[in-house]
């Protein structure tokens, strides 16, 4: 895969939930391209469909319409088995509430992901140790999640998401449950990963956190509203996107 290939290409994505009385149109036609190595922040009001989009990208749920190409592979019609394999190879996920397995140590949480991705036991342990070391958590490797602070837990969760060397790291409000120190820790980590070439798509409600990213995408009501480079607080909309059929172009 060359650097110029997009890590993610999304076209015309729609998703409607049949919940309760009225159907909820969570995504109403999303187009998004993330190039390899990009660090994209996704912002938008609550309920605008950010998490839904991430779910679809990770293959955890299916779109009603539209296409998703991950690493050049179309995933919207894959069988659950194939989706799972794709996920274990190409996707890493970080949640707001960490979702670590509480009965497993930090090391085991990370190694489990490597194992699922197909690593042999020694490799998995070595990789987990390595990641925890890089994230400054080697001394906590044998602790259970309950013994860690929020920031430490989130760093373990990030290590876990990286255990399979994902093409795309998806993070849904990774700093949402952390205090400002914890948030800074995580953001700093993401920037370092970005510097190392990791492709990241991160949902956040915090402008400060978003500022740490390279590119900012804004959503509203299930559509992409704005897309541009982050340049010290303002957004510079790239020309190609300005010309494209952004939702704001056709009100």
């Amino acid at each position: 895969m060359s650097v110029r290939d997009p890590a993610l290409v999304v076209r015309g994505l729609r998703k409607t939930y049949e919940a309760g009385t009225a159907p909820v149109r969570a995504l109403r036609g999303v187009d998004l391209t993330v190039r390899a190595g990009e660090f994209v922040a996704l912002m938008g009001p609550s309920g605008c469909g950010k998490s839904t989009l991430l779910h679809l990208l990770a293959g955890l749920d299916r779109p009603d319409e539209g296409t998703i190409a991950l690493d050049g592979t179309r995933i919207e019609d894959l069988a659950p088995q194939r989706l799972a394999r794709l996920r274990r190879r190409s996707v890493g996920l970080v949640f707001q509430f960490f979702h670590l397995i509480e009965h497993m140590s930090a090391l085991e949480n990370v190694a489990l992901a490597a194992l699922v991705a197909g690593a042999r036991p020694q490799e998995a342990t070595a990789r987990a140790r390595d990641l925890l070391d890089q994230l400054g958590l080697l001394d906590k490797a044998r602790e259970l999640p309950a013994a860690l602070s929020g920031g430490q837990r989130q760093r373990v969760a990030i290590a876990r998401a990286l255990a399979n060397r994902p093409t795309l790291l998806l993070a849904d409000e990774p700093t949402g449950a952390l205090d400002s120190d914890g948030a800074a820790e995580v953001l700093d980590l993401f920037r370092r990963l970005h510097a190392l070439g990791q492709t990241i798509l991160m949902v956040t409600h915090s402008r400060e956190v978003a500022d740490g990213a390279q590119r900012l995408v804004r959503m509203r009501d299930g559509r992409i509203l704005l897309d541009g480079e982050v340049t010290s607080g303002s957004i510079e909309v790239p020309a190609e996107l300005r010309a494209a059929s952004g939702p704001w172009a056709r009100p």
Binding site: L107, A111, L115, T125, L144, A146, N164
Partner: protein, 784 residues
């Protein structure tokens, strides 16, 4: 922020408000739990009611029939003894109806004894279970025992009979023609007694019969009620024995007036069956009770877990933990009352059940017998249990959620080849933050497996005892009561005869005066009719083998010495060389107490004027029926009936099956329920696993590993435990009956348990696995 007053009002009214809120939100779930717990949990006191009715059947019957303390039959030629009885020391009351022996017409070998008279009402009053009592004016009406009714002399039968004279009885061994008057017996009723026996015949006539046939009997039956003094039995026995010794009779050999004491001699067959039943009911109650509490606990745990945030709100509002728990108790109360009322109903309904198994034959008042007291206690007890479990589960949820402290880290960071195995084993071995601790689940499953294994094993042992007469030294094709040499020699030469042994029986005296039945056998062909339980058969005059029951009572082992006293008073030490079951001819208790060599028997046994030899004849396969029919035509055969002890147990053979079914259903439901609840609790972990890229198959494998982690230890521990329990229990029952106590291990059934439990557990997990597969993983992750 809040005034003292305001805080106080909230604190006192708070629990009620919270209880109302919980009820509004959860009333349906609580009510459903109340109904289930009431109906299922009610089976526990209901089992108690059935157990009570079963266990007391015998004693209630003893009271209902005014069972005598001592009885015997005194020959007609010594009326002085009968006349003295009412005034003998120790006797408070006595009834001495006349007794007859009749020969049933058309059969040279069918005899029956009979008593008739006016019963005093408070001494020997058999309970009628069918028909009516004899009309006082009718000269031929009788009631018969249930045993007779079952074996041919049934209600409505009209039997022409000829009475025997006392001289006939004296000639019993040499042959005679019945010389008494001819008459007819009309069976108008069937009566129940705890024990019929030699001195209480199976046929009882009324005053009409007694008046019509007065003076023609062979003697009088004597039924005695002792007075309240502690040594009444001893004083009466001494006086009676002295009286018998003063007045010798011409028929001492056949009608030696030996005292029977029906009250003090517990019927071993009854004791064994009753013990088996009570253990069975106890096991049933235990399993059902544990199952009910488990279902209730898991159900309420969900309620408590749902109310977890509520507790933090309540705490913030100043409610103490006690008040919050009180609120949960209040909220649970209505459902608990429903449970209690239903349970009481179940107990009352259990009053329609007769005593279980053979004990039904002792029920003096068949029909509906509600246990109001048990219902009155059991209902509230279940209500209290419901409330208690509600409070405990709430406390458990809150305590564990508050204590989000680090548990001990896993000792080694052992990473295994299969991620599903790693995750499954970690989740299985983890502490109980999300539900019951795994140890409790494993223990419950172990208990269930052990219960099933024990029940199946005891059932197999029971079946084997009933189906293999050899185990109680039975199964002879013909038993000649009085075997004479020409017949024996002829049979030995008969190619249809496989084995033939002659048995001689008598009594041996212990140093303390007790009598033990003793037998000796001479094998004339084939193998002896003996079941060797352990050790070997006696080979020398001072060697003896004992019945397992006697061995257990006297704590005798091979190599021990059993002191006996020869008739002339010289002590004789007999060495125990084995445990054996030797057939007995009266089909009551199983097995003679002792087996000696013929020389040994001659040395220690009370000599009999006319030793009778019994021949046990075993035919070659297929020839049994023909040979028996041929012999029956010309010789007196002992009926080849199954001994009472085995019959009582045979009544129970369906019980282990039923119990196993109940155990499987209850334990199975409990296990399925806890597996399902467990899987539901792990939905988040499974979703995370999916997010990491686990396939649906891997998720399923993880749940299967969890199930196996419960099922395999349960099987590994439960099977040996169950076999051990069965061994102990069956040994108790078998030795009480008088047979060998080794269990029959149902290898096939056990293999099925070993295979089916883990397999079933794995199969159960396909249900949550399918559910997880249908739902997108994100549904279980809640707010990201």
């Amino acid at each position: 922020m809040r005034t003292r007053e305001g805080r106080g009002r909230l604190s006192s009214g708070g629990p009620i408000l919270v209880a109302r809120a919980v009820l509004r939100e959860r009333w349906w779930a609580l009510l459903a739990l109340g109904v289930v717990f009431g109906l299922v949990g009610g089976l526990v006191p209901a089992a108690g009611a059935v157990a009570e009715r079963t266990a007391t059947a015998y004693t209630r019957l003893v009271e209902a029939v005014h069972l005598d303390d001592a009885r015997t039959i005194v020959p007609a030629d010594v009326p002085e003894v009968v006349a003295e009885v009412p005034t003998m020391p120790g006797a408070a009351a006595a009834w001495t109806p006349e007794a007859w022996i009749v020969q049933l017409d058309g059969s040279p070998v069918r005899f029956s004894s009979l008593i008739a008279g006016t019963p005093p009402g408070d001494l020997v009053a058999p309970v009628l279970v069918a028909g009516r009592a004899p009309d006082p004016a009718a000269p031929d009406e009788v009631v018969v025992s249930e045993r007779s009714a079952e074996t041919g002399v049934s209600l409505g039968a009209v039997l022409p009979v000829t009475m025997l004279t006392l001289d006939n009885v004296a000639d019993f061994a040499v042959g005679f023609t019945a010389a008494g008057p001819r008459t007819t017996l009309r069976v108008v009723g069937v009566a129940r007694m705890p024990s019929w026996g030699n001195a209480l015949p199976d046929v009882v006539g009324g005053p009409g019969f007694a008046a019509a046939h007065a003076g023609t009997g062979i003697g009088h039956a004597v039924y005695v009620r002792f007075d309240d003094t502690p040594d009444a039995a001893a004083r009466f026995t001494e006086a009676f024995t002295a009286a018998v010794a003063r007045h010798p009779s011409v028929v001492s050999d056949y009608l030696a007036p030996a005292l029977e004491t029906p009250r003090t001699t517990p019927d071993q067959a009854v004791v064994a069956a009753e013990r088996a039943l009570l253990v069975g009911i106890g096991l049933f109650a235990l399993v059902v009770g544990l199952g009910a509490v488990q279902v209730l606990g898991l159900g309420l745990l969900r309620t408590g877990a749902a109310a977890r945030p509520a507790r933090s709100v309540e705490a913030a509002l100043g409610m103490t933990l006690g008040q919050s728990l009180g609120a949960r108790a209040l909220a649970a109360f209505p459902a608990a009352v429903v449970a209690g009322v239903l349970a009481a109903g179940v107990v009352i309904a259990a009053g329609t059940l007769e005593p279980l198994g053979s004990q039904a034959r002792f029920e003096p008042a068949p029909g509906f017998r509600p246990q109001w007291a048990l219902a009155a206690v059991g209902g509230p007890a279940l209500t209290a249990t419901f409330v208690l479990v509600a409070v405990l589960t709430a406390a458990l949820t809150w305590r564990t959620s508050a204590a989000e402290e680090p548990g001990p880290a896993p000792r080694r960071s052992l990473v295994r080849r299969w991620p599903a195995l790693l995750l499954g084993s970690r989740l299985a071995g983890a502490g109980g933050r999300r539900g019951l601790p795994p140890a409790v689940t494993v223990l419950a499953a172990t208990a269930a497996v052990a219960g099933i294994v024990a029940t199946v094993t005891v059932g197999a042992s029971l079946d084997r005892l009933v189906e293999e007469p050899r185990r109680w030294a039975g199964g002879a094709d013909a038993v000649l009561v009085d075997a004479r040499e020409p017949d024996v020699a002829r049979l030995v030469d008969d190619p249809r005869v496989q084995s033939l042994a002659l048995s001689e029986t008598s009594y041996a005296r212990e140093p303390d005066g007790g009598l033990l039945g003793i037998a000796a056998q001479t094998v004339r062909k084939g193998t002896p009719p003996v079941e060797l339980v352990s050790g070997r058969l006696p080979a020398a005059p001072d060697e003896i083998a004992v019945n397992p029951r006697l061995a257990a009572q006297h704590q005798l082992a091979v190599g021990d010495v059993l002191p006996l006293v020869a008739p002339d008073g010289t002590p004789r030490a007999m060495t125990v060389v084995g445990a054996v079951v030797v057939a007995r001819e009266d089909y009551g208790e199983l097995g003679q107490d002792l087996l000696a060599t013929p020389d040994g028997l001659a040395a220690v046994a009370v000599p009999r004027a006319l030793p009778l030899l019994t021949a046990h004849v075993f035919a070659v396969p297929g020839a049994g029926a023909g040979l028996a029919a041929e012999l029956a035509a010309e010789l007196e055969l002992s009926p080849t009936a199954t001994p009472d002890a085995v019959r009582n147990l045979a009544d129970l053979t369906r019980l282990p099956g039923i119990l196993t079914l109940v155990l499987v259903v209850v334990a199975g439901t409990g296990m399925v329920h806890s597996l399902l609840v467990g899987a539901r609790r792990l939905a988040r972990e499974m979703a995370v696993f999916t997010v990491l890229g686990a396939t649906p198959g891997q998720v399923r494998t993880t749940l299967a590993v969890l199930a196996v982690a419960t099922a395999v230890p349960a099987v590994l521990l439960g099977v040996p435990l169950g076999v051990g329990v069965a061994r102990l229990f069956w040994w108790e029952v078998a030795t009480a009956v008088g047979v060998g106590g080794d269990i029959a291990v149902p290898v096939g059934a056990l293999a099925l348990v070993v295979a089916a439990v883990p397999l079933g557990a794995v199969l159960v997990t396909t249900i949550p696995a399918l559910r997880l597969r249908r739902l997108p993983a994100t549904a279980s992750l809640g707010a990201w």
